[in-house]
Symmetry: C2
Amino acid sequence: MSLLVVGSVAFDAIETPFGKTDKIIGGAGTYICLAAANLTDSINVVSVVGSDFPDSYLKLLKDHHVNLDGLQIIKGGKSFFWAGKYHNDMNTRDTLVTELNVLADFDPIVPESYKDCKYLMLGNLTPSVQKRVIEQLPNRPKLIAMDTMNYWMNSAWDDLMDVIKLIDVLIINDEEARQMSNEYSLVRAAQKILTMGPKYLIIKKGEHGALLFDKDNVFFAPALPLEEVFDPTGAGDTFAGGFIGFLAKTDDISFDNMKNAIIYGSAMASFAVQKFGTDALIGLTQQEINERVQLFIDLVQFDINLV
Amino acid sequence: MSLLVVGSVAFDAIETPFGKTDKIIGGAGTYICLAAANLTDSINVVSVVGSDFPDSYLKLLKDHHVNLDGLQIIKGGKSFFWAGKYHNDMNTRDTLVTELNVLADFDPIVPESYKDCKYLMLGNLTPSVQKRVIEQLPNRPKLIAMDTMNYWMNSAWDDLMDVIKLIDVLIINDEEARQMSNEYSLVRAAQKILTMGPKYLIIKKGEHGALLFDKDNVFFAPALPLEEVFDPTGAGDTFAGGFIGFLAKTDDISFDNMKNAIIYGSAMASFAVQKFGTDALIGLTQQEINERVQLFIDLVQFDINLV
């Protein structure tokens, strides 16, 4: 089933207690695509880079059946660049550089060949840009999922409220859910956010797992306890990519199948943090993915006979 | 199966954003007993109070089939008293008062009638006191579980290392596991702590659930997402009481049954935080407990067919 991914394709430079990288391939759109590519083929991306973006990175995406017809390459422009440094506990980081560059004026154009998309994943971007993508689709996709962040809650609240009325699944972290709802309890936060538009809300809690809510149900997926987190960059985007990739592959948007999609998203994220950048998402075999998902099954399954 | 609980029986005074209490019944031993009493009968307690401890509280314990033969009542003595105030997020608190009183000189004496105990739960106490209890038992119990805290790691490390060599299950929180092992990763922390004596380690993560480790396996139990946490006091002790109470009732200490015990412990803790002090642990019906456990099943169960 065709999946359309909209999100940044960019450079990252990452420093963790385990080492540091030069400028490497990064961006929400990249992580989403490479995670989804492990589960489904036929991925279309809408994004923008500068002419400084190396052919080898474009080839990497193409080799993972990511169609780049919707990737604008701005001649003489520079690609979005983010640099960050993680603290020792890996749970907090300082942003050292944010250069929007070509992303500052990004006008997303959905190619004709993408317009029959059935699954749409809107990575974290200006809400008005996210909305312009939806408006270009002649037929509403079967499922629209979207990420956002505190920054847009502070700077573009009305636009954000506009776009979340149009989507199905909002994917944010616990801090963002609390800010968006002005509720500390995540249960109350979810109740409130589900009145704002989305039918489903996923609250990511990093190393503490993720919650899926609809009006009547709640599901919790753990994160895998790992010996070592090497680089958390892109874990949330990888989770989203695994989630939407699994849904696109199975083409089943029931609550029960969304549970499975979240387990697959969590499994992809558990790979991502074990190497720098996108490295761990490259070259995974189906068997490795299955074994990882089995670890999640073993981690939480129990068998109680109620008395 | 006979269960011996050793832990403080005391007064608490609690302030949360929702209100405050006068001196009410509290203490680790109290929470453990009242939680376990919802799952098993025949509970023996070893503890100490002063003559200021009201008959009504003693009756409350007796009414929950807690045998008080091992409860020393020190004439003219004052009971242990703790007062605390929770911050708005309920995850942090200030201790306002800690009066050890009769607990300062507590010499635990295990009555003859308790000595055949099969399950032993050592609540958080001076490690040397915990050890003296074990030494009085002529036959080693089938399972010994124990709680401790940072304070003893700082002030009585050697005694703590002595006693954890004698037990089966150590129950601590994430911060304590990190301090005890000097490892940030909980997986590594568990590996290290399991070389110090205990065969099983439970790491409590509060609202983020709990992990059970043995040398070869790991299990994760979520906490129930709640609309409101009213008073977190005693949640960890209630968890331990539910855990050991379920094991004593089912008399099965396999890893698989420990998973179930952790779910029951988590269920009891989810009740505890919904009212002040021990209130929520009183008068629970079997049906209410079953319904709560069913919520945990619904929260985490999924059914993936690996491809």
